[in-house]
């Protein structure tokens, strides 16, 4: 038997898991689903670094072609903003912010940030916790995995490190998501006067 697979596994255990640098309280799928006004699966068709209105911050503007909306309605491509990016040779890193790359297929939990002449601008809920990558495994099964670069999660009560979420089949994820969304609707029906964020 070749030692190569075992070696690779050992080296992966040794390696740091990405570059993480902000500490944030963990959000559950139910919380993400509740806080988001729009939950979609889609593909990033372009990204662009821009300067904030005061010229001091760089943000990334991504255009997302929607394949499926799980919550809310998406009439066309979405404009999504995230802190950090690059502009005119300058980079700016906001640790834990969601990051977009052209061609990425993603599940996104979004909140409306603003209206603009170009359309509604959306932001990702809970920094990079609200962005999940859709990938295909070796057998062709679609997986959904969190993209938590730049972020370390802590438990809400104790603020001790939280277990990192793992990749799950898209089908199973969608079932959990629909259950979370249905539970939210149920809560609202049983609690008259409750306001949806």
């Amino acid at each position: 038997m070749s030692a190569r697979p075992l070696l690779f596994a050992l080296l992966l255990l040794l390696a740091p898991v990405g570059a993480r640098a902000s500490v944030m309280v963990r959000a559950t799928l139910e919380e993400l689903a509740t806080e988001a006004t729009l939950v979609v699966r889609g593909t990033v068709t372009s990204t662009e670094g821009r300067l904030s209105g005061d010229g001091r911050k760089i943000y990334t503007r991504a255009i997302v072609e929607v394949a499926q909306a799980y919550k809310g309605a998406a009439a066309g491509p979405l404009i999504v903003h995230a802190p950090g990016g690059s502009f005119a040779g300058r980079g700016q890193l906001v640790h834990g912010a969601p990051r977009f790359d052209r061609g990425d297929e993603l599940v996104l939990f979004l909140q409306k940030k603003a209206e603009s002449p170009e359309g509604t601008i959306w932001g990702v809920v809970a920094m990079s916790q609200g962005l999940l990558a859709v990938t295909t495994d070796a057998t062709g099964v679609l997986l959904v995995a969190p993209e938590l670069d730049g972020l370390e999660l802590v438990e809400p009560d104790t603020k001790t490190p939280a277990a990192r979420p793992v990749a799950v089949p898209l089908e199973a994820f969608e079932a959990r998501l629909r259950a979370a969304l249905a539970a939210k609707v149920s809560d609202e029906v049983s609690a008259p006067g409750a306001v949806t964020k």
């Binding site: 030692a3 040794l14 944030m24 001091r56 943000y59 890193l93 790359d101 809920v125």
Partner: protein
């Protein structure tokens, strides 16, 4: 037999890795580390700082910088400047200073829904409010040359809108209203964030200040651990060159010509510590695997 030897070598890598495993911040999808060229970094507290106990908080901020500067193996120093406005980020026209600021209110509570700042991502500056997610405890925003990784500004913002920051000693706070106790300790948080300010990322070493957790009442990150010392000693050694790694182009093409080739030869410390060649090798190989994974995205 060959297989067993290979496995033994891999297992041997574990020991030095855990001894010094600090991680440096790199530019997205690259191996270019962030670094400061200067060895004396200016910082300023905002005016006002914005913490509940202004004077105690300011003393704690000073003490936090002093923790990193106290290491004799480095000549990295911090120079407190005059108090500055509560703006963060980088202005090409300058002046820029590494700013420490506590945000006391959440932007979602104070910014009108139709304010144009929402579309321009400038509400935090316009309304002096916490503009990131309210689950974040603190955030460091670093600005750098995309070409070389040289940092030009790094600001630290505390989320005082959601978290209660304390400076004293005592038992862990049992409730949000209890006094004379430790809630989210400022020095515990800031010594960690200053690590980010100088270009360090989270380490897998649980005892280290740069390990990513911040429990209520925790104070162990008020000081440095061995892994943190290894990081600052290796990246900014006293009298020696700053450790620089894999800029996108030769540094002279990045407008950093004054950094000499000898300084570049200081070596790449990206994600690798000085705890032994084995640990560095293990991480380098691990990073190679990670890079291969990252490249699938492009």
């Amino acid at each position: 037999m060959k297989a067993l030897r290979l496995v033994a070598v891999a297992l041997a890598l574990l020991v030095p890795l855990q001894a010094a495993a600090y991680v440096r911040t790199v530019i997205q999808f690259t191996d270019t580390c962030l670094f400061w060229k200067e060895r004396t970094l200016a910082w300023s507290a905002s005016a006002p700082l914005g913490a509940p106990d202004e004077e105690a908080a300011l003393q704690t901020v000073r003490a936090s910088f002093a923790v990193w500067a106290a290491e004799s193996c480095t000549d990295l120093a911090f120079d407190e400047g005059a108090r500055v406005a509560r703006a963060t980020g980088f202005s090409p026209e300058g002046p820029n200073v590494n700013t420490i600021v506590f945000r006391e209110r959440d932007c979602s509570d104070v910014v009108p829904a139709d304010d144009p700042c929402r579309a321009e991502d400038s509400c935090a500056a316009a309304y002096d409010c916490w503009g990131e997610d309210d689950r974040l405890i603190a955030v460091t925003t670093s600005t750098f040359s995309q070409c070389s990784g040289r940092m030009v500004d790094s600001d630290i913002e505390f989320n005082g809108a959601t978290f209660r920051f304390t400076t004293g000693d005592g038992p862990t706070c049992a409730s949000a209203t209890e006094t004379g106790c430790i809630d989210t300790d400022i020095q515990n948080t800031l010594v960690h964030e200053i690590g980010h300010l100088i270009g360090l990322d989270h380490t897998p070493v649980q005892e280290a200040t740069m390990f990513a957790s911040a429990g209520t009442g925790e104070v162990k990150k008020r000081d440095l651990a061995e892994d943190d010392r290894a990081a600052i000693c290796a990246v900014y050694p006293a009298g020696g060159p700053t450790s620089i790694c894999e800029p996108a182009r030769p540094l002279e093409e990045c407008g950093e010509g004054e950094i000499t080739q000898a300084e570049q030869a200081g070596g790449c410390g990206c994600a690798a510590g000085t705890g032994g060649g084995g640990g560095a090798l293990g991480l380098a190989l691990g990073l190679l695997l990670l890079r291969r994974g990252a490249r699938r995205r492009t």
